[in-house]
Amino acid sequence: MARVIAALLLRETRVRFGRAQIGYLWAIIEPLAGVLILAFVFQMIGRAPNVGHSLYLFLAIGMLGFSLQRRLAVQLSNAFNANRALLYFPVVQRIDTLIARGILETATSLLSMMIIIAGLMLIEGVPPPAHLDIFATGIAALALLGFGLGTVNAILGIHFSSWSHIEGLISRPLFLMSGVFFTPDMLPSVLTDVLTWNPILHGIEWLRYGYYEGYRPDFISVPYLLGWGLVTTLVGLAGERYLPPGNVS
């Protein structure tokens, strides 16, 4: 199994990032462009970051945390289709394609995270994460959530052909609701009462809690975020194991 996952990893890296001319760079350009656009808008309306001094860092943490989760959820949902030809090999199991993509996307996101934060440290002189252990576990929790959501997406996708459209509808507003460009304490409590159900918001706040010295949102619930990650992962994997094969198309 490890052999197959390693082979899939090498192949995916090559096929996916090899095709575009600048390849791997896209993984960095994408969130970076998001941060720059948001920062531009923020400067236009003259808003200061909610935490810390750097607007770019504030937005980068939100953006990177969100895109880690989102990349996993999207890429895993296409895992079976993209690897359909390879599922002809009996040794290649569907779960291998999920794990290979999970590793690849997490590694890619980590790399872009390190490059962007290191860049901000050099250019803007922002401090490194204050509590690296908390920051790292926050990343792990968001990755677990992304893996779980992606696995569930992949399974639902082979049983309901319109699932990818529905998932797109559900997840579109999530970008606005996940604290990428705000912290919950600046919102009226009517709103936070609703947003507190969004696990991604917990994850992004967790990252900020780990990064900023003295920032301690009483909002975060670690069990809630981990619960989402674990439950979606278990449900997705159980579906993979026990539901009939379904249609890959």
Partner: protein
């Protein structure tokens, strides 16, 4: 020897179900065997079941010896990578890749020699897709 024991397999086709095998118990002895059937009768499915690329709904399939993945079903190869990359991938998943590019090269050369007997030239390597030419 390949044995199917009480194997059932059905597909969803539109609204209905198509039974490919219904509690079939079969034994294939070790010799050349042809499977003949109409379009959609389940020839490929039978091969995929035997290879283990697909699971039966019910029953067991017992094989003695090694069974290849179903060859020549357009699956397996990825047209957007080179022939050598495809070969390496297969070598890797079957644990036959001993980490060296020369190992793959040797295997490619051997394949080319074999195919030459069948008067087929094999082009692998830096071409975008594997081409076979008579």
């Amino acid at each position: 020897m390949i044995q199917l024991i009480d194997v059932s397999k059905a597909y969803k086709v539109g609204r209905g179900r198509k039974n490919i095998l219904t509690t079939a118990t079969l034994t294939f002895e070790r010799r050349n065997i042809a499977v003949i059937g109409q379009n959609g009768a389940g020839k490929s499915t039978l091969l995929r079941l035997i290879a283990g690329a697909e699971r039966p709904d019910r029953g067991r399939i017992v094989t003695a010896g090694r069974v290849s993945w179903p060859l020549g079903f357009s699956g397996g190869f990825n047209g957007s990578t080179t022939g050598v990359d495809n070969t390496r991938f297969i070598s890797r998943i079957y644990g036959q890749d001993h980490g060296s590019r020369t190992g793959v090269r040797a295997r490619v050369l051997r394949a080319r020699r074999l195919l030459r007997h069948a008067r087929v030239d094999l082009f692998l390597g830096h071409a975008r897709a594997t081409r076979l030419r008579h």
